[in-house]
Amino acid sequence: MATIKINSQYLKEIKEVCASFNYEKGQLINVLKKTQEKIGYLPAEVQMVIAEELKVPVAKVYGVVSFYSFFTMVPKGKHPISICLGTACYVRGAEGILHEVERILGIKPGEVTPDGLFSLDCLRCVGACGLAPVILIGEKVYPRVTPNQVKAILDEYRK
C-alpha cells in the first residue's frame, strides 16, 4: 500500500469513525458520510485508510465514492454554492442563473474558484419549489432568484 500522506489528527478521526461502526463492511456509506462531515471531502488517501480499516479493497471504496453524488473528492470552497436544478426550478429559469454564476465566477459545476472562496454544484430539488428558482450558498436559501440578482448575492460574500 502506498504511503499515506495525511495528518495524524485526521488519521485518528477516520479510525475512530470506522471503530464507531464496528468495522462493518455494510456500513461503508455511513462511514464515508461521517468522514466527509469531519474532513469536508474524501481524497484518495482518506479512501485508502478507510479501505484498510474496514478490510475492503480500495477499488470498492472508490467505486462507492464515485457512484454517489453526495461524496466529493475535491474540497469545497469556503462558500459552497448549490444551484437547484429540480424540475420546478428548471421551468422557472434556473438554467439562466447557473449560466450567470458560471460567467461571473469563471468556473463550472464541480469546480472551485482559484481563491477557494466559492465552489459550484448543481443539485436536484431542495424541496422549496414554492420559492423557485432557488440557490443555496452554504445553508442559506435565496428564493426567486433572477439572473441580474446573482452578482449582488455573490458580492455579499466577498466583503
Binding site: T87, Y90, G96
Partner: protein, 598 residues
C-alpha cells in the same frame, strides 16, 4: 392541550424555513414572554402545503390562516388577534377571483377540493413531540392490530383496502406483505424497509411527511413488521434531507422511550426496532434492488428480478420495501377500516394521492386529492391556474420516468390506469406545470440530462443509448438537427424501453416519446425552420430592439451584464449579437416593450 386559549401554528417545512419561519417562531415566543401572555402556545409544525404563500401561520381554535408572514408582523398579530380578538386583514389570503380576504383555510380554493389522509397530521402537530401524535389517535392502529388481529387478518384487511404502492409502480400493498410473509416462512430474520430516497427532481411529498408526521411512518413500519414477521426496520433516507433525518431520529428515540419500539411492545411480546440508513444521492436507488445494495454499503446498482426482495432482500433475507407515502396511509386504514378507505378513489385506484404541484402555477404546494380527481381540477381549482395569466401548455407527471400531457388530457382522472393510458405515469407524485414559454424539446433534454447523470452504467441500453439520445436532442436545440435525427430518436427510445435492465432505464425515454407524440410540431420547428417557438433555445433566437419603440433611456444598457447594448442617449439602442449572452435582463428591464426575442 385544553388549557391554552390560542395555539399559534408556524410552518416549519423546508419551504417556509427557507423564508425564516424559525425567526418568526422565536419572535412569537419573545413577544408573548415580554407581554406576559401565558395561555398561548407556539408550535412549529410540518408543511401546510400552501408553499406559494409561505411562511404560513395558523391560529387555532378559529383556524385563521395568515400568509407570507414576516418577523415584523408578529407583534401586530399578537396585539390584534391574540389580545383584541381582531383578525389582521392584511395578512389574510386574498382570493383572486372574488378579490376578498378569506380567513378560514377550509374555504380557500387551494384546500376545498383536497382530502388529507396521508398528510392528515402535517401542519397540525409538532412533529418533535410524540404526545401530540398520540393525541390525534397515534399508535392506536398499532395497538388495535397487535391486540385484536392475527398477522393474517391484518394482511387481509390491507388487501381489502385496495392500497397500492405510492412510489410509482402501484403494486398492491397487501399482496406485497402477504408475499413477504409466506414465500420464505422460516427465515431467521426479515426486514421492513422504508424507501425515503425521494429522488424525483421537483417532488417533495415524502420529505414533507417525514418532516411533518414522522411517527406515522414508525407506526406503519411496526404494523408491517407484525404482519410479515419482521423484528427489524430500516429507513433508507437521503442524506440531503437533514431536517427529515433529525425529526425521524427524534421520533424513533421518543417511540423507544414510550415502549412503542423495542422489545415487548405494549406488553404483547411483539418486538420491533428501526434504524436509519443514508442514501447518498443516486436516483436509481429508488429501485428496490438497487436500494438494498446501497443499504449493504455497495454501489446502488439494480439486479434482475426474480429473486424478489420478498425472497432475497437485505443481507440475503426476505425484505418488504414500501415508500413513505404508502406507509403514511397504513395507520388510518386500520383505524377507520378497509371499507372506509376503499370508498375513496376510483375502481382500481383507492384512496388519495399526494402531489408536489410546482412550476408555472399560481399555487405551488403540496396537495392531496382523492384518486380520480381530474388534472383540470388540480391545475385550475387547487392550483389557481397559470402564473401571470399565461397560456397552459403541458403538465408533466411522474418525473424523469413520466410523460408530458397536454390541453387535450386535462380531463383525465388522476389514477394509475388513466395516466398510463395517456402515456404518462402516476410516479411518486411530482406534477410540474408548464406554460407557453417552456420549450418542450428542452424539457425532454432536461429529463434526459438527469437520466444520463443518474444512469448507474450497468446495462448498455441505458448507459449508451440515453447518452446518444441526449446528443441528438442537443443537436436539435442548437439548430443542427435533421429529419433523420427525429427518426433515430424514435427508434432509440423504443429499443431502450424494451431492453434496459431496470425501471430507470426502461422509463428513461418516456419524456422524449411523450413530447414527440404531443409536440411534434415543436420538434419540426427546431429542425426545419431552426426556430424555437417558446423562445427558450438560446442558439435559435436573438434579442432585438425595435427602434420605433426605444426612447433611448439606456436602462437596459446599464443593466446588461456583458455591456452588449450601446447607443447614444435618447436615441434607439442596439444589441451586439456577438457579445449578447441572451440572459433576458434587458427584456425584463425595458418599460416600453421595445425589446423582443426573434
Amino acid at each position: 392541550m385544553t388549557h391554552y386559549r390560542f395555539h399559534i401554528l408556524c410552518c416549519g417545512g423546508t419551504g417556509c424555513k427557507a423564508s425564516n419561519s424559525a425567526g418568526i417562531v422565536r419572535k412569537f415566543e419573545a413577544v408573548l414572554k415580554e407581554k406576559n401572555i401565558n395561555d398561548v402556545q407556539v408550535i412549529t409544525t410540518g408543511c401546510f402545503g400552501f408553499c406559494e404563500k409561505g411562511p404560513i401561520v395558523k391560529i387555532l381554535p378559529d383556524n385563521t390562516f395568515y400568509v407570507q408572514v414576516k418577523e415584523e408582523d408578529v407583534e401586530n398579530i399578537i396585539n390584534e388577534h391574540i389580545i383584541k380578538g381582531r383578525k389582521v386583514e392584511r395578512l389574510l389570503y386574498t382570493d383572486p377571483k372574488a378579490n376578498a380576504h378569506i380567513s378560514d383555510s377550509k374555504h380557500m380554493g387551494f384546500y376545498k377540493k383536497q382530502m388529507r389522509v396521508a398528510l392528515r397530521n402535517c401542519g397540525f402537530i409538532n412533529p418533535e413531540d410524540i404526545r401530540e401524535y398520540i393525541a390525534r389517535d397515534g399508535y392506536a392502529a398499532l395497538g388495535k392490530v397487535l391486540s385484536e388481529m392475527t398477522p393474517e387478518q391484518a394482511i387481509e384487511e390491507m388487501k381489502k383496502s385496495g392500497l397500492r404502492g405510492r412510489g410509482g409502480a402501484g403494486f398492491p400493498t397487501g399482496k406485497k406483505w402477504e408475499l413477504a410473509r409466506t414465500l420464505v416462512p422460516n427465515a431467521e430474520q426479515k426486514y421492513v424497509i422504508c424507501n425515503a430516497d425521494e429522488g424525483d427532481p421537483g417532488a417533495f411529498m415524502d420529505r414533507s411527511i417525514l418532516e411533518g408526521d414522522p411517527h406515522s411512518i414508525i407506526e406503519a413500519m411496526a404494523i408491517c413488521g407484525y404482519c410479515i414477521g419482521a423484528t427489524k426496520g430500516l429507513v433508507y433516507i437521503r442524506a440531503e434531507y437533514p431536517l427529515a433525518i433529525r425529526r425521524l431520529q427524534i421520533a424513533i428515540d421518543q417511540a423507544r422511550e414510550y415502549g412503542l419500539l423495542g422489545k415487548d411492545i405494549m406488553g404483547t411480546g411483539f418486538e420491533f426496532d428501526i434504524e436509519l440508513r443514508y442514501g447518498a444521492g443516486a436516483f436509481v436507488c429508488g429501485e428496490e434492488t438497487a436500494l438494498i445494495h446501497s443499504m449493504e454499503g455497495q454501489r446502488g446498482e439494480p439486479t434482475i428480478k426474480p429473486p424478489f426482495p420478498a425472497v432475497k432482500g437485505y443481507n440475503g433475507m426476505p425484505s418488504n420495501v414500501n415508500n413513505v407515502e404508502t406507509f403514511a396511509n397504513v395507520p388510518v386504514i386500520y383505524l377507520k377500516g378497509a371499507d372506509w378507505f376503499s370508498k375513496i378513489g376510483t375502481e382500481k385506484s383507492k384512496g388519495t394521492k399526494v402531489f408536489a404541484l410546482a412550476g408555472k402555477i399560481n399555487n405551488v404546494g403540496l396537495i392531496e386529492v382523492p384518486m380520480g380527481t381530474t388534472l383540470r381540477e388540480i391545475i385550475y381549482e387547487i392550483g389557481g391556474g397559470i402564473k401571470g395569466g399565461k397560456k397552459f401548455k403541458a403538465v408533466q407527471t411522474g418525473g424523469p420516468s413520466g410523460g408530458c400531457l397536454t390541453e387535450k388530457h386535462l380531463d383525465t382522472p388522476v389514477d394509475y390506469e388513466s395516466l398510463a393510458a395517456a402515456k404518462s405515469i402516476m410516479g411518486s407524485g411530482g406534477m410540474i406545470v408548464m406554460d407557453e414559454d417552456n420549450c418542450m424539446v428542452s424539457i425532454a433534454k432536461f429529463y434526459l440530462d438527469f437520466t444520463v447523470d443518474e444512469s448507474c452504467g450497468k446495462c448498455t441500453p441505458c448507459r449508451v443509448g440515453n447518452k446518444r439520445m441526449n446528443e441528438i436532442l442537443d443537436k436539435i436545440i442548437k439548430g443542427n438537427g435533421t429529419m433523420e435525427d427525429l427518426d433515430t430518436l424514435k427508434n432509440l427510445a423504443n429499443v431502450i424501453k424494451d431492453t434496459a435492465l431496470c425501471g430507470l432505464g426502461q422509463t428513461a425515454p418516456n419524456p422524449v416519446i411523450s413530447t414527440l407524440d404531443n409536440f411534434y410540431d415543436e420538434y419540426l420547428a427546431h429542425v426545419k425552420d431552426k426556430k424555437c417557438p417558446a423562445g427558450q433555445c438560446k442558439d435559435l433566437l436573438s434579442y432585438v430592439i425595435n427602434p420605433e419603440k426605444c426612447i433611448g433611456c439606456t436602462a437596459c444598457a446599464r443593466k446588461c451584464p456583458v455591456n452588449a447594448i450601446t447607443g447614444v442617449v435618447k436615441q434607439p439602442q442596439t444589441i451586439d449579437q456577438e457579445k449578447c449572452i441572451k440572459c433576458g435582463t434587458c427584456i425584463d428591464t425595458c418599460k416600453f416593450g421595445a425589446i423582443s426575442k426573434q
